[in-house]
Symmetry: C2
Subunit: 240 residues, 2 copies
């Protein structure tokens, strides 16, 4: 093991090396970040951070899907954010969060102790800038969801959600053939979780999915797998 920039890092084989905040780092900075990081696996359903409870780490989501959710005294729940591989978990400069953070699938994290990470962010300009920009993007997405929750009907909500997942799978799965390809992906969420994300009930989600299936806009294979033969038909139902 050398100490020069040519040494091998865990990061070099990391699937999200160029999608997470790490993408903003020089080789030397990456080595420093790597030095304070540790990997951790979690099973679907496990809670990563509790609302209002102190946390002592930040993390990159390497693999899997994570939900951020709030709930009311009587149990009503709303998902206020979905995190995918490459996303950053935790609020810099704070020690707790006003929502629960929970693995919805099996998950792999790359964790950093808070203080050590903040010191790096303080010194590595690219890192703090990147975190800032990610936060601005997140805010934009939250505002899109405000429009969805406040003004869209059940049909439009489902269409928008599926369209979002479809585009995601398009971006990452197969690359750049620009013919009108068939999109297919697995739903990371159960019907109950979809309902909590869209401000609906399980039954309404189920009915709307059936309706989209009967209309030929999507195919549903074994509940969780979705095929979208024509994305533009789906897009037309989003309401924007």
């Amino acid at each position: 093991m050398g100490t020069g920039p040519a040494q091998q890092l865990t990061c070099d084989r990391c699937a999200i090396r160029h999608r997470a905040v790490c993408a903003a780092l020089s080789r030397e900075e990456l080595i420093a970040l790597n030095a304070i990081s540790s990997r951790k696996r979690l099973r679907a359903g496990e809670t990563i951070m509790w609302a209002q409870e102190p946390v002592d780490f930040f993390a990159n989501l390497i693999e899997g899907v994570v939900k951020l959710s709030k709930s009311m005294a009587d149990g009503r729940e709303q998902i206020v954010g979905l995190m995918f591989p490459g996303d950053f978990l935790g609020r810099p400069y704070a020690r707790e969060q006003p929502f629960n953070v929970e693995a919805v699938t099996d998950v792999r994290l790359c964790r950093f102790p808070q203080r050590a990470f903040e010191d790096l962010a303080h010194n590595f300009e690219g890192l703090s800038e990147r975190l800032f920009n990610d936060t601005l993007d997140e805010l934009d997405r939250a505002r899109d969801w405000l429009l969805l929750l406040g003004r869209k009907n059940a049909q439009e909500k489902l269409a928008t959600f599926l369209h979002l997942l479809g585009r995601r799978s398009q971006e990452f799965g197969c690359a750049h053939t620009n013919q009108p390809q068939v999109i297919a992906f697995d739903l990371p969420l159960s019907r109950a979780q979809i309902a909590a994300y869209l401000g609906l009930t399980i039954e309404t989600v189920s009915r709307q999915l059936s309706k989209l299936r009967r209309a030929g806009v999507i195919e549903i294979v074994e509940n969780r797998h979705i095929v979208v033969p024509r994305m533009d038909a789906l897009e037309a139902l989003c309401g924007e």
Copy 2:
């Protein structure tokens, strides 16, 4: 006029000097920011930034209230953010925004050319940190609103909205008497705008306000002025 730190700045008499991003600046930094700033007034209803249209300035909101809103092809509108004095307008490092920014009351702004401001933010660590933190707060507020739009009923939505305004007026209006005081404030928004903020219709807003009035939770004076005799009664209706 001297050039030393003792010189008088517009900022020294500014109502938001210690609430806006300016609060993060040293005297010297403030002088530099002041040098690139200019004041501007707008009338209620004027648009400050159009969605998807290039903007060439950022601004501090000195006085008045500003709304951020999105709308759908068929005209449905959702307010995705409300800005009050001290808040920062514009998205750093971007030249356009995915929503309209509009004065809902008469407004005074303190504007900065984008490039010049970004250069300062780049050099003044406190400034960029402050912008980052404001953005994180804004994200938290947006997520609170996701819960409201997705899960609360009309009554809870109105109660939450009034409670929010009540707390604001409490913080800034009269100061620190900690007796259970009577809260009173003016609604900055019309019924139509409240509806657009809460994901409701005008009629529902009007009915719920009347219902709260009949229940003795609020008094309504000439449509726009609200008196809250007992904040805890209002708080109990918010649903959290």
